[in-house]
């Protein structure tokens, strides 16, 4: 059985354990052996984005030690994937040994939908989801990893689903990690406007590939009592 590693990400471990379960389920249905990355908790993006290089280095070191080239490492987050695939080279610029390890690991790192479509060559995973869905393309997924069509293709192949468009879908939801608590008023205003545009679309469910966006949009929807649910793509693909 081919083995893949699943890096859960800190937000999923803390707030969205169902996302990890769902990702595991989908991968196992493809007859893959899923082994979690247990020795690392966070990709280092939170301290890195705050300009805190030393704490970020500690976490990156931890991640690089926890993973090894040779088996695909699947991450259910565009943001964390881009941290490892793209931003590590900046973070590790003065750490030649770690940088070398990161470079060796890079071709094995995949965002969840990217892995399914680009590596496993699947679109239909046997999912059924009888809802009207607005897909929110997460920023790092879209503009760092350029993973644009894969999630949409996976969603389109889900039975019973109706995917609807909404205005300016690619505008950021306002999460931005520490940004969301450092400049909370701007962050909340971005979520507010995004939600309004999604409401106009008639969707009952927002789907995204990043727990950060889910947390932001889900939290703003719940505060307003708006009956739109937020689901991770993996959860939709695991649904039957």
């Amino acid at each position: 059985m081919t083995e893949v590693r699943l890096f859960a990400t800190c937000l999923a471990e803390e707030f969205f354990p169902s996302v990890i379960e769902a990702a595991k389920t989908v991968l196992e249905r493809l007859k893959l052996k899923v082994r979690p990355v247990r020795a690392s908790f966070c990709c280092a993006q939170a301290p890195f984005n705050e300009g805190l290089r030393e704490p970020a280095l500690d976490l990156a070191r931890k991640f690089l030690r926890a993973c090894e080239p040779g088996a695909p490492i699947v991450i259910p987050s565009g943001s964390c994937t881009s941290m490892v695939r793209i931003f590590y080279s900046d973070l590790l610029a003065n750490e030649p040994k770690l940088a070398e390890r990161a470079a060796a690991l890079r071709p094995w790192i995949y965002e969840f939908s990217q892995f399914l479509v680009d590596v496993m060559k699947v679109k239909y995973v046997g999912a059924r989801f009888d809802r009207t869905v607005a897909y929110h393309p997460a920023c790092h997924l879209t503009r760092e990893l350029r993973v644009i069509d894969q999630p949409r293709a996976l969603l389109a192949a889900v039975e019973g689903i109706r995917v609807v468009d909404f205005r300016n879908p690619e505008e950021c939801c306002g999460f931005g990690g520490v940004f969301s608590v450092k400049l909370p008023h701007i962050s909340a205003a971005m979520a507010e406007d995004k939600i309004q545009r999604i409401q106009e679309s008639g969707a009952s469910t927002i789907v995204a590939n990043d727990c950060g966006c889910l947390m932001q949009l889900g939290g703003a929807l719940h505060r307003r009592g708006i009956p739109i649910e937020t689901w991770h793509l993996a959860e939709v693909l695991a649904a039957r």
């Binding site: 800190c10 471990e13 707030f15 969205f16 169902s18 247990r38 020795a39 690392s40 908790f41 966070c42 280092a44 939170a46 301290p47 705050e50 300009g51 805190l52 704490p55 970020a56 500690d58 976490l59 931890k62 931003f87 900046d90 009888d130 809802r131 920023c139 790092h140 503009r143 760092e144 690619e170 505008e171 950021c172 999460f175 931005g176 990690g177 520490v178 940004f179 969301s180 608590v181 450092k182 400049l183 909370p184 008023h185 701007i186 962050s187 909340a188 205003a189 971005m190 979520a191 406007d193 469910t205 947390m215 932001q216 939290g219 719940h222 505060r223 307003r224 009956p227 649910e229 937020t230």
Partner: protein, 476 residues
């Protein structure tokens, strides 16, 4: 250094921006229209991306040999009859310009649009010297009448509606109230034409300075740049050192992309080429021409290999329009001549540590980099500045909330080094906190997460199950 915002300024001014529903609606409409135009003009021009690459390469080359290009430009401009002054900082530039105006004996100065003169705060300096300054770009004229600064680098009055402008003109120009753009433009035009004829000095910015020929290219839509640079007897052009490009044949690449991203036009209405003062056989044009080449912190940006890229900026303004932060708070919230994503890079470098907060005013969503005509990697530079500001000596004095947020990240990073312990803690805490949650969300949180719940969002409960967050009876 001048014009720096105070460190606590951004938090408050951005709160005002967010709270102004009227402002947000105007910004959404205006920037949304702009983005539609940009998408449309780009779509009908297949060579757009290759022109971007060509323009980028020219900028890389030009910034890479600024020293020789600036000498060449200066020599060519002087050979063409212009007087060139290289200003190390804003004060030197201001003093020089005020002196030229005084020596010309001018009582009135007309100005074409120029962010560089905003940067050096030229208008107040001229007014202190007893000179009347009139902005002649319609948007600039409007904000000047309101006693404001531009809130956008291309569309200075983007924060105002036509009704706002109608009320302003009724008040300041004494015309009957109307919100009809044609009538309002006509009223401004009449007033400005008179001043063009009487002003002794014209001042404009510069979009590109061609070293090979000593030619200044001025890109505009209203003809006011042309009038400001040709009608008055003395003409002063103000440019940053980064505006120089090597050859005349480089310019078309920039013309193909600048208006397309700046305003969503194929080309602006006016592209002026200014090569010197009135010659012996010329029937018109200024008798004296001065070119002020401003450094004001730009060389220091050149010294930093990551920051250097920011000097490729064409000041097209597209990154402001596409920025989800700018669109929610408006340009005035940045308390800087240069707002938006590129402003958050440039301002701390031109105005010092007082603007150190601005690199944090971004979710790093990357929309700015994608729209940038010369593909400046703005998120990467912002990250670089965040790191640089966080290790700056002497340490920057941050607002209290920022200090707390930062400390919580350090705490989290420390704990995240011990995944097993952190996992155990999360698992133990989740059931204890569950009674406080409703449908998997917390309404109130302590500490830094309180910033989240105080601002319109419930916080996800620890390890909540999917089912908890589902709404009953949901089928479409």
């Amino acid at each position: 250094m001048s014009a720096g915002p105070s460190s606590s300024g951004f938090l408050e001014s951005s709160r005002r921006g967010v709270a102004d529903a009227d402002l947000r609606r105007k910004l959404e409409n205006a920037t949304g229209r702009h983005l539609e135009h940009v998408a449309a003009t780009r779509a009908e021009f297949p060579a757009f991306d290759s022109e971007r690459d060509a323009a980028r390469r020219i900028k890389e080359d030009a910034i890479g040999r600024l020293d020789e290009l600036l000498v060449e430009l200066k020599n060519k401009l002087e050979a063409n009859g212009a007087t060139v002054f290289v200003a190390a900082d804003a004060g030197e530039a201001r003093d020089y310009i005020v002196n030229v105006v005084k020596r010309a004996g001018a009582k009135q100065v007309v100005k074409g649009k120029s962010m560089t003169t905003e940067e050096i705060e030229l208008n107040p300096a001229l007014e202190r010297a007893g000179v009347e300054v009139v902005e002649t770009d319609l948007g600039e004229y409007i904000v000047q009448l309101r006693g404001e600064r531009p809130s956008h680098i291309i569309t200075p009055a983007i924060h105002l509606s036509k009704e706002d402008i109608g009320r302003l003109f009724a008040d300041k120009l004494g015309i009957p109230y109307t919100a009809e753009p044609e009538t309002l433009t006509d009223a401004a035009r009449k007033r400005l034409r008179e001043i063009f004829l009487s002003a002794g000095v014209g001042v404009t910015g510069v979009n590109f300075a061609i070293a090979e020929t000593g030619t200044l290219a001025l890109i505009e839509n209203e003809g006011n740049g042309r009038l400001s640079s040709t009608l008055p007897d003395t003409f002063i052009a103000v440019m940053g050192i980064e505006k120089v490009i090597p050859k005349l044949s480089d310019l078309p690449h920039f013309l193909e992309i600048l208006a397309r991203t700046g305003t969503g036009q194929k080309l602006t209405t006016y592209v002026n080429f200014i090569s010197g003062p009135r010659g012996r056989h010329d029937a018109d044009g200024p008798r004296a021409m001065h070119v002020v080449i401003l450094d004001n912190g730009r060389s220091a940006m050149l010294a930093d290999p990551v920051l250097r890229e920011a000097l490729y900026c064409l000041r097209c303004g597209a990154c402001l329009n596409v920025c989800p932060v700018y669109r929610r708070i408006g340009g005035h919230a940045y308390n800087s001549t240069y707002p938006g994503p590129i402003g958050s890079i440039v301002s701390p470098n031109l105005f010092g540590s007082a603007a150190a907060e601005l690199p944090f005013a971004s979710t790093l969503c990357g929309a700015c980099r994608d729209i940038c005509p010369v593909r400046i990697d703005i998120p990467r530079i912002l990250l670089h500045l965040r790191w640089r500001e966080s290790v700056a000596q002497p340490a920057i004095k941050w607002p209290k909330a920022a200090v707390k947020a930062r400390a919580s990240v350090v705490r989290f990073a420390r704990m995240a080094r011990f995944p097993r312990t952190l996992r155990l803690l999360t698992r133990l805490a989740a059931p204890v906190l569950r009674p406080f949650a409703r449908d998997g969300y917390m309404r109130r949180m302590p500490g830094v997460a309180g910033n989240w719940t105080r601002w319109g969002r419930d916080f996800p409960a620890l390890r909540a199950r999917r089912k908890t967050r589902q709404k009953p009876a949901e089928h479409s």
